[in-house]
């Protein structure tokens, strides 16, 4: 007998949570009806499952105005982490997102996916993208151009989240609500420096220069 793994029978009754699950207060407001699945580390073998041939291209290769975001991930001893995965998500140059979840409608900037993932096997990650535009901050202002970043690695049990801002956006950065909420010396850890072909953003998981990480 064989089975078709894509053949999914109808569900005869609605999903029911396991007995004994309790309700908990959420991060913002309201109860969770179902407990969320606990995170776990990607471990050292993430390359098996998470390698994409087109992973690094948040914008298609050759897209006009494209930049490389490159950087390294350092551990608490100052050593480069060679088995991390960095994922990025960002707006297009007009500040739109190629996502149906954008209440302004999904943007369709030519050649732009907005998402990339890169591993650090060579000692650094590199992502090809377009510099994002400014995005409303929901408080009547505009956020400075930024890229949301998730970092996964052996030894990290839940992803860590940070943001990339851009050194050549000093005016926008000065009025950004998130950056303004940080002390000056911490703010610097989020700002990528200009390079010949784009920007450099190093991540320090620990230490005096520990990158600002966010709870989302």
């Amino acid at each position: 007998m064989t089975t078709d793994p894509l053949h999914v029978p109808d569900v005869s009754e609605p999903y029911q949570p396991l007995p004994g699950r309790t309700r908990h207060t959420g991060f913002l407001t309201g109860p969770l009806r179902l407990g969320t699945s606990p995170s776990a580390t990607v471990g050292p073998y993430l390359a098996i499952g998470l390698t994409w041939p087109d992973g690094i291209w948040a914008a298609e290769e050759g897209t006009e105005g494209g930049v490389w975001l490159r950087g390294r991930v350092f551990d608490g001893a100052g050593d480069v982490v060679p088995d991390a995965m960095v994922e990025t998500w960002q707006a297009d140059p007009d500040g739109g997102f190629p996502s149906p979840e954008d209440p302004r409608g999904a943007a369709t900037y030519p050649g732009f996916r907005g998402f990339a993932r890169a591993q650090t096997l060579t000692g650094e990650f590199g992502i090809f993208t377009l510099k994002p535009g400014r995005v409303p901050d929901g408080e009547g202002g505009l956020q400075a151009p930024h890229v949301d970043v998730s970092i996964f690695a052996r030894g990290i049990l839940d992803r860590v989240v940070t943001r990339i801002y851009f050194a050549d956006e000093a005016d926008a950065n000065a009025e950004d609500v998130v950056l303004r909420g940080l002390p000056e010396d911490r703010r610097r850890t989020l700002v990528a420096e200009r390079t010949d072909d784009g920007y450099r953003f190093d991540v320090h998981l620990q230490g005096d220069q520990e990158t600002v990480f966010f709870a989302v």
Partner: protein
């Protein structure tokens, strides 16, 4: 363009967050690799704005039909106990997460990964590469056929063995929902000594363990294990952001 104004009234969902007492911490001392890698400072709360409540569309073109059967690779059948792994991907509101990419990877039946870093002297299986990809259907259901992964030693402490597990990576609709996790099997005798499993708060550990299903077990073919995955859901009442009236 929308992006060059501060925007008209935006109705943004708010993604709830599990209580810290039920979330896996970023670092856990018994898991030695966390020592130099898990950040030590308290993370800064990031308000959920457009970047956080949106997410990439990763379509069917990323997945081939054969990606849902890990037991047939390189022209032959993988060695091991064939299992069907299935379940639903849901929000914490109980709503299905449809059309979502699910990526899985795992060790072979002997507990060996096809990866240069894995030097455990168990044999590689030429017909098992340990990679699977599926999309959830319109009701959030997923399933794939694989072999039960073996346990393996990993050097964290004396005689340290990872319980059998399958790695899962999920995208929901939003950056906020991203989840990478591991699925375990019922009644594994190795749970007690495994710091990666025990990093999960005790009250939430059962959420990481699949359940055996005789009902879905395929006669004369494969055992079945059900694992439902719950991503963060949203506050049911949308809120309106402030509007400065500057509409392009």
């Amino acid at each position: 363009m929308t992006g060059t104004t501060s925007g008209s009234r935006l109705h943004l969902p708010r993604y709830l967050r599990e209580d810290d007492s039920l979330r896996t911490p970023v670092g856990f001392p018994d898991y030695k690799s966390t020592g130099l890698r898990a950040p030590l400072r308290t993370p800064v709360d990031l308000p959920q704005r457009l970047t956080e409540v949106t997410g990439p569309v990763l379509g069917e073109d990323r997945v081939k039909a054969e990606d849902a059967d890990l037991t047939l690779r390189n022209g032959g059948e993988a060695v091991g106990q064939r299992i069907l792994v299935y379940g639903r991907v849901l929000d914490s509101d109980g709503r299905p997460v449809p059309d979502a990419l699910v990526e899985v990877w795992q060790a072979n039946a002997g507990g060996r990964y096809r990866h240069v870093v894995d030097v455990f002297p168990a044999p590689l299986d030429p017909h098992f590469d340990g990679l699977g990809r599926v999309m959830t259907d319109s009701l959030g259901r997923y399933e794939f056929m694989t072999i039960k992964p073996g346990a393996y030693p990993w050097g964290n402490h004396h005689n340290a063995w990872r319980p059998a597990h399958i790695h899962f990576s999920l995208f929901g609709r939003a950056f906020t929902q991203r989840l990478v996790t591991q699925m375990y099997f019922p009644d594994d005798q190795l749970f007690g000594q495994d710091p990666i499993f025990n990093a999960i708060p005790a009250a939430a550990r059962h959420r990481a363990i699949s359940q055996f299903s005789l009902e879905r077990t395929v006669d004369n073919w494969a055992l079945a294990f059900e694992w439902n995955i719950v991503l963060r859901g949203t506050d049911q009442t949308p809120f309106e952001t402030e509007d400065d009236g500057d509409v392009a």
